[in-house]
Symmetry: C2
Subunit: 349 residues, 2 copies
């Protein structure tokens, strides 16, 4: 069925031999591309998510334009709380807003379980269409937010500086928090299984807000549920990537979560992480997205430093340490992709 | 001259024997106190900084109200760029704004060196007055932002999500960045020496934005200059605390910066840090400030966990992992102080 023309990314996830390091970029289907902005001019963000043709189109753009080694389905982590019954608005220059955030047990019990094939059909249709249009040129990654990261948004209702509301919940009413996380985890596991069933070749779980927690709370309220999800996703050989922004401590513990790949942000030292994790998982990362504002010379120097930091051998997927920024010149992103493809040959074979 | 009635904080900074753990809180002279808000109602923030009587009054409030073991002079890290010639506005609900941020070599050379006794006389007068009014009940901490953190504000001009401007500077024009950091470091060293001369019993350097840098850049653009400052501050026995928010990696390297105490945010594991740092420095921290929204029972449980994490012995200064939040109930802060004073006896002697 799935015969990928370029399977470097999948092979690297499995720490198999490749002749160079694969590269893709988080949020690569995004506003920095004029081709994306042209689509976005015709439809708002949520409409793009809900329209398979548009989602498929922007998903494939970075493959066509930048020649990255993987596509990631265009969508948003907040489609899950939407499907569970929450009302989301994407406010211009504010970001996502839930007008009725979860603040108590009653709010929590109003959330419904979902059938992804019904409640998130539009994402699955986008996956199916993208797979068809991609024609197996590169693998397609499906994704979800982690339960903790979704809970943070659902409880805060919007972006937050101190995350006081969700922390009040876990510190003062851990029982309710765990019930919610359990429910969200079940939804995510079904959702990701459905994505794989519809053709996704790999899965990434984004724990954008894992790094705001004390370590013990990260294990209890985030990693714990990520482990459960990973162990219950129905998959064959499809690799799972876990990326917890700001969590660079105790990498051995992270590496035991069941993911094939652990992603790290730009504050991590890949060399140290690789030493500690050994060959338990592959590593993904970790160029500071801000480097893409620099000259080609500096992009090359800093990309080289990332390659060197991981060192020789297999099991590295080159990526940014976080999403590509919306006003980065596309030619710089293209330069990075070309550079990594060429330069990384030295670290293989 | 300086005979402190309560010298627990100073002794703990030096890892000397104490019969309990001292406690103070970052931003303890702040908006959560009704007594602070009463002063603030009469004067804007910058006027408070510039009026020694007001600064001294709010500095002493938490000593009177909460009975903390140290006072920290009420001021702002941005008085330094102001003294160097930058025009600062404190915008309600936006935060500090520099209307003419540093963006090029010409901007950079417009910054002047300072004589703290002239250009920051109002801070030093506040220190002198506070020392007099405090009557040596507890030590008085003086502080500064780190050169990197000040540079970040000076270049961004305001709070930032991605810090793209200051990163563009260090990635693309490291020469200009280093010249600026050198200049700022000299100013800070003189400023902190003057604070000690005027009676400060200890110094804290805040590197609020150290954690946004890749590790190598943190050493090159931040820690490097902190080391220089610490080695050139004119001091006798006055301890120096270095707090770099979000920097919990390579603690041994941090501990070599010359500071007597390293402060950590709530994502750090004090037990692990103490193991790695050994008795090179004391440790300060690290309760999540959000815990203060919880019930007394939960505050006690979480404070106990911090004490337990450091473990038995000397060299721990209890603090929050970041500034106290503006809407925390003061009685919760008071409860924390009382609890730590009592509970920590078990970890001493």
């Amino acid at each position: 069925m799935k015969k990928l023309k370029n399977d470097l990314f999948i092979r690297a996830c499995k720490r198999k031999k490749t002749d160079r390091t694969p590269i893709w970029m988080m949020r690569q289907a995004g506003r920095y591309l004029p081709e994306y902005r042209a689509v976005r001019a015709k439809a708002d963000f949520i409409t793009m998510c809900k329209t398979p043709e548009l989602a498929a189109e922007v998903t494939i753009q970075p493959v066509d334009i930048l020649d990255v080694d993987a596509a990631i389905i265009f969508s948003d982590i907040l489609v899950v709380p939407m499907a569970m019954g929450m009302d989301l608005e994407m406010k211009e220059s504010v970001g996502p807003v839930f007008h009725k955030p979860i603040r108590n047990e009653a709010d929590a019990s109003s959330l419904k379980s979902i059938d992804p094939f019904k409640d998130l059909k539009y994402v699955l249709d986008a996956v199916t269409l993208t797979k068809k249009n991609l024609d197996n040129r590169v693998p397609l990654i499906g994704f979800s937010g982690s339960p903790w990261t979704l809970l943070a948004y659902m409880v805060e209702g919007k972006g937050s500086k101190n995350f006081s509301e969700v922390k009040k919940l876990i510190y003062s009413q851990p029982g309710i928090a765990h019930k919610l996380l359990e429910k969200i985890s079940e939804v995510i596991a079904e959702y990701l299984s459905a994505k794989i069933e519809c053709g996704c070749d790999a899965i990434q779980i984004f724990d954008t807000w894992g790094g705001i927690l004390p370590q013990k709370d990260f294990y209890e309220f985030s990693l714990n549920y990520v482990e459960k999800i990973i162990s219950s996703i129905k998959r064959k050989q499809e690799p799972v990537i876990f990326f917890a922004k700001g969590v660079n401590y105790k990498p051995k513990k992270l590496a035991k979560c069941g993911a094939d790949v652990i992603g790290f942000d730009w504050t991590a030292d890949l060399s140290q992480l690789r030493n500690e994790i050994g060959n338990k998982t592959a590593l993904q990362g970790n160029l500071d997205p801000n480097v893409l504002y620099s000259s080609h010379e500096i992009i090359a120097r800093r990309a080289k430093a990332v390659l060197k930091s991981f060192g020789k051998g297999n099991g590295h997927i080159f990526n940014l340490g976080h999403g590509i920024l919306p006003d980065v010149p596309p030619e710089n992103a293209k330069f990075l992709v070309d550079y990594v493809k060429k330069e990384s040959i030295k670290y293989h074979g």
